[in-house]
Point group: none
Chain length 414, copies 2
């Protein structure tokens, strides 16, 4: 099945935003055996949209449109779709009820723009959007499927996952394909490639390996194709078992799990609790931990101690340690972890202190120098890392590394 | 002058990489008065490239191709270009000398693939690439300019800045264009549209307005076209002044500023300090504030108080308030803000407490109920919001809303 993604939006064409939607859709569709042949971005204008639809209809089996929907944008896209599919806008009761409910929950009155969002082309199948007001719309014309989705990423993702892909599967447009992604942390990509070279070379021909590095981790995606999904799954699991023997410490999870979810599960199962003390990471570890639903069961809280005064007064870091070793030091990292563990009365605690940059480095402690400490039942561990000059990346890498060390301490119950 | 960007590369179509090149080119061209009408990504295949070239030639004055050049990729793209422009590959002496020099500096022997990079289509103008081995190529056909560039971002950027834009300017293909984006927070898109309808209708014909909503804010982009950039800028500034009188409270910044940067600037100028107490936002406000370089000058730290125990012990929230009103209440939000302000000894403090979801709601306090409090010099303010069911969005919206209220309190020095 050949597919095209058409993105409608001037903001992409003036370079104000990067089109991340298309990359996400392309990945999801590929995982489901649908080949994306072309991605096109066009302006919010009638003629431009029509031309893109015509070009797509000639070559594709499936066309995904994103963007151009929403209270202030609806007009052009919806009217253009009506014209193209030779239909007219009609009032869609269920969509209107849904919009009304969303607004009444927030105690906001509906205006005309909101009401107009319940107008949909008569010939389309409405895809209910639980995450927003603009519904998805599914059209079929000359054996080509056209799906129009809002451009807001989480609304678009919801509709692809819950409406579009299930419907395509029902249509039988799927071949047997099985993917599993192994999440690793702590080994740079090139070193990892060397370590697992023999394993990679010995992979069966129908299993392909892709390296997907990001600032959080290096992900290894295994994609197996064949005729039976159950057999493919067994095949992939067998290869992952072999991989686990080569890099046992580095694999922290699979597929879309986050490190914070993995840690959450470990704490929940063991009935243990966690606290966090952050200097250079400034609240990011706490944010990642609390992004997991239900985290209040094991997470008591954190102290972001940006000033030394807070490190002393709330975390109980010794003034003498700050003077003698500086805030970015093994001693202070350990005192922060022990301090927050004691103050918040938890089983485990993790602490970070470092120079995130871009300013503030010295010859001895350059930008990117980070101390991470983890306090467990009886022991406290600390390790120094030297990352790069990019503030955002340093915060992300420090947070992810701190959680990886925490994970090992929890696993071994140290 | 109407332009299209064509990106050649399978890695984008499987979602492995995000196409950041196109966004950069689009921004640069827009700044230089060249309108990008379409961005297309196609596979590394002869037929797909030819089709994209044909589609572009029909509608555009300028076509920028990126990708598909480089030692292991040259064959398809260069041969396809030769066929399309009815020419043949010839050996280009200057390019060969340049490649030889680059390799000899690095003490690497040339192989056949490297030598073949000096083969270029006879009819093109070669654009020397000082940053790599694959040169740019400039073609003209039926009054349309085609420029083929390597896909490596810094090589592409070098060629656009040093070769492509200067040549286009010589060709006199430049018009003046000026963009400015107004950042608003606190009014939903549909309500904003209603409020500013008259202003929008009265905009001069050469100024276009675009709504760019995201979970953080609704951005309004004004794009003016004409013959003098200085006049356009004045024109846009005049319209923004009028807008500021209509929604004075809601505009927090311009262009690429973040709310945390705006708050940072206000605090820095006034020499004031900030502390944060977070329950439902779990560290996200602290993360946003500390993402700004130099934030340690005004930011002392935060307490993420996920458990009531932490709210009491560290923030000094009264047990009786927690029992009588519950953790998600006006009284507790205010006590949290006042508590963290006192404990961390700052001029301002902001606090959040709410039910981020997806679980934990009650009839009285459904998921999405959030109390935000801001403590200033003398007063403490609190306001209730009811957002939706999505945990991630609730965290983002609560954080952004809290910072917006904080901004107003700092501005008015309350």
């Amino acid at each position: 099945m050949k597919a095209e993604i058409i993105t409608i939006g001037d903001e992409i064409l003036i370079g104000q935003i990067i089109d991340t939607n298309s990359a996400w859709i392309a990945e999801q569709f590929n995982l489901n055996g649908i080949e994306i042949c072309r991605i096109t971005t066009v302006r919010d204008k009638h003629d431009h949209i029509v031309e893109a639809l015509k070009n797509a209809e000639q070559k594709m089996d499936l066309v995904i449109l994103t963007g151009g929907l929403g209270p202030t944008k609806d007009d052009i896209t919806k009217n253009t779709l009506c014209e193209y599919f030779n239909t007219k806008l009609v009032f869609h009761e269920a969509t209107f009820e849904h919009i009304k409910n969303r607004f009444s929950k927030r105690n906001i009155d509906l205006n005309k723009l909101n009401r107009d969002q319940a107008l949909v082309p008569e010939s389309c199948t409405v895809l209910p959007n639980k995450t927003g007001t603009a519904p998805g719309m599914w059209f079929e014309k000359n054996n080509v499927i056209f799906v129009s989705l809002p451009g807001v990423p989480f609304e678009m993702k919801y509709l692809v996952e819950h409406e579009v892909i299930p419907r395509l599967q029902q249509n039988g447009k799927k071949i047997a394909i099985f993917h599993k992604t192994v999440l690793t942390q702590g080994i740079p990509e090139s070193m990892l490639a060397e370590k697992i070279e023999d394993w990679e070379t010995a992979l069966p021909e129908n299993i392909k390996l892709a390296y997907l590095p990001n600032p959080m981790s290096v992900r290894l995606r295994l994609s197996a194709t064949g005729s039976s999904e159950i057999i493919l799954q067994q095949q992939v699991e067998t290869e992952i078992e072999k991989l686990q023997q080569i890099i046992p410490e580095s694999i922290y999870g699979f597929d879309n799990e986050t490190m914070a979810e993995v840690i959450g599960k470990l704490l929940k199962v063991s009935g243990k609790t966690l606290a966090v003390a952050e200097s250079c990471t400034g609240g990011y570890i706490s944010h990642l931990i609390t992004s997991v639903p239900g985290s209040s069961a094991y997470y008591k809280g954190s102290v972001s101690a940006y000033s030394n005064q807070v490190k002393q007064n709330i975390l109980g870091v010794n003034e003498s340690s700050l003077i003698k070793y500086g805030a970015v030091s093994e001693v202070v990292a350990k005192e922060m972890a022990l301090g927050v563990k004691k103050t918040l009365d938890t089983d485990f605690a993790v602490a970070t202190t470092g120079i995130a940059g871009p300013e503030g480095g010295t010859e001895e402690k350059p930008v990117g120098t980070i101390w991470i400490a983890v306090a467990g039942k009886q022991k406290v561990f600390a390790k120094k890392f030297v990352f790069g000059n990019n503030r955002e990346r340093n915060i992300i890498r420090s947070s992810q590394t701190a959680m990886q060390i925490l994970r090992r301490v929890i696993l071994k119950d140290l």
